[in-house]
């Protein structure tokens, strides 16, 4: 075994952790304030929205949080560019054909058709899904939210033939995809990072950025082998 193997491995640097904190705080605020409007006719919507300072204040909070999230997202793109500039950016988050294989293997493992867990890389297919879901969300929910926030200005940009349905489509996009995002986070993310027996009550990685090497080797064996295993010397 290689003697250079550390006890813990750095998964996320400080900037990434702060980006994540801003992302989830704004996400929660947006979900809470938006929920009241989406389900305005389901009681106790009025009481709920009054916790957020009433409909007017809740609307302002929602807009400010939306802009913060957008800025966080834009910042992330510069963060990636900077990593690329420092030649520190590996394309490990890009979905690959191997992810399909991993998923099939994972389901086979779930069903007892395979003894081994999948040979996951730095990011599993679910983590990649989680990551790109933010892009999908920013595109669908962010764009529609921005349009809905400035209806007069945006009207000028829309072609006349779209006006009969554009606003309804924007509203549906915003509210349905937000629900999808909430449900996704609540189920996949909460299960994997909070409720999973080995992490409960939470995976402290979001604060430390580090993962114990055993856990790392178990959950990301392909990445472990890439860094410390057979042939690791050659790649370096």
């Amino acid at each position: 075994m290689n003697k250079d193997i550390p006890q813990e491995i750095q998964r996320f640097d400080l900037s990434a952790r702060i980006q994540h904190i801003i992302m989830f705080s704004t996400f929660l605020i947006l979900s809470f304030t938006g929920w009241g409007l989406k389900y305005a006719y389901v009681q106790p919507s009025s009481a709920w929205i009054h916790i957020w300072g009433g409909p007017k204040i809740a609307g302002i909070i929602h807009r400010v949080a939306g802009i913060l999230m957008l800025l966080d997202f834009i910042y992330h793109q510069f963060y990636l560019l900077n990593l690329a500039r420092k030649r520190d950016l590996r394309l490990t988050i890009i979905p690959m054909p191997k992810d399909v294989v991993d998923m099939v293997h994972n389901f086979m493992y779930f069903l007892g058709l395979r003894k081994e867990e999948p040979y996951f890389g730095k990011f599993t297919y679910l983590q990649k899904f989680d990551y790109w879901a933010v892009y999908w969300g920013m595109f669908i929910i962010g764009t529609s939210g921005f349009f809905l926030a400035f209806p007069v200005t945006v009207s000028a940009l829309f072609p006349t033939w779209t006006l009969a349905w554009a606003w309804d489509v924007l509203f549906i996009m915003h509210s349905d995809e937000a629900l999808l995002a909430i449900v996704f986070i609540l189920i996949i993310h909460f299960y994997n990072e909070h409720l999973r027996s080995e992490y409960f009550p939470m995976n402290w990685l979001w604060l430390t950025g580090k993962m114990p090497i055993d856990q790392f080797k178990h959950h990301h064996p392909a990445e472990y082998d890439y860094l410390y295993g057979k042939g690791a010397e050659k790649k370096k």
Partner: protein, 301 residues
């Protein structure tokens, strides 16, 4: 038998009053009987006194109550304006047309607006029983409250329900060729949702369509009857509203494009939901299995 006794007693009482006090016609006199009655003739004293007209004598509006029991209990004879308005409201077949028309005595400007409105025209010119009179929107006349009160039927947050009494009725929608689902489409809009949550800046029906002088949207003089008027109306809140912007609100049913976009997104959402639920459940199952049967067996150090 009891009813007859009651009538008899009332008549005696009325005669007694008429004979003795030279016909006292303050509210207390009327309420001594009507205050304890049930049904349409009953008046709740407390609620009446709390109402905006609570200091009025009953005969201010009920100028000539019918029946012998009311002998001597009349107010000032109705003037020409009230009589005319009462005659105009005749198609509604109201129990006391003079009382229903009495509003004009103090609110002539509102009544004048009403007469020119689509609501007024429907009653007065088309002689329809569908059209509303003052009390249809303002509620039971004895308990009318000032508009900023939650109890007012025309309070900002109650108007939608008040309009909906007729405008949500299927036969009314069909008869007058409104946009089907007109109220529903308003309610699910941002305007409707915000109003529901108590946003004081959100528009109710009357904010855009007007109130006493309400016109059909097909009428060019309606605040939403023409593109020019719509621009003015919308820009009360959305400064710079132009032609393309004011096209946004029609209260029409969902356009097919939006309808299918909604279905597509619902399929996507439900599909993703099913997938992740399955995934998590299988994951939990595998996790439990591992802990039960392969404890400690997966670390190869």
């Amino acid at each position: 038998m009891r009813f007859r006794l009651k009538i008899l007693f009332m008549m005696l009482f009325a005669c007694l009053l008429a004979a003795t006090a030279g016909a006292a016609t303050d509210a207390a006199t009327c309420l001594s009987c009507h205050g304890s009655m049930d049904g349409a003739a009953g008046v709740n004293k407390d609620k009446y006194e709390k109402s905006v007209h609570g200091s009025f004598d009953c005969v201010t509006c009920h100028m000539a109550p019918k029946g012998d029991q009311h002998t001597g209990l009349t107010g000032a004879p109705p003037d020409k304006v009230v009589k005319e308005f009462a005659a105009a409201l005749a198609p509604k077949g109201l129990k006391d047309p003079l009382a229903a028309a009495a509003c004009v005595g103090c609110h002539p400007d509102k009544v004048e607006e009403y007469k020119g409105s689509i609501h007024g025209q429907n009653v007065i010119v088309k002689k329809s029983t569908d059209g509303p009179v003052c009390t249809s929107c303002h509620g039971i006349p004895h308990y009318i409250e000032k508009r900023p009160s939650m109890a007012s039927k025309v309070y900002l947050f109650n108007i939608v329900e008040t309009c909906g009494k007729c405008h949500e009725e299927k036969h009314i929608i069909e008869k007058y060729k409104f946009s089907p689902l007109v109220m529903e489409r308003y309610k699910e809009s941002f305007h409707g949702r915000k109003l529901k949550l108590g946003h004081a800046g959100a528009p109710s029906c009357a904010s855009c369509h007007g109130a006493h002088d309400i016109k059909s949207t097909k009428d060019a003089s309606s605040p939403v009857g023409s593109v020019e008027n719509k621009k003015k109306t919308c820009s009360k809140c959305h400064s710079g509203a132009m032609e393309k912007f004011v096209a946004a609100i029609t209260h029409k049913p969902l356009h097919p494009v939006a309808h299918f976009a909604e279905i597509a997104l619902i399929i996507l959402t439900v599909g993703t939901f099913m997938f992740i639920i399955t995934h998590v459940l299988l994951d939990i199952f595998a996790d439990i299995r591992k802990r039960l049967f392969r404890k400690g067996g997966d670390h190869h150090e």
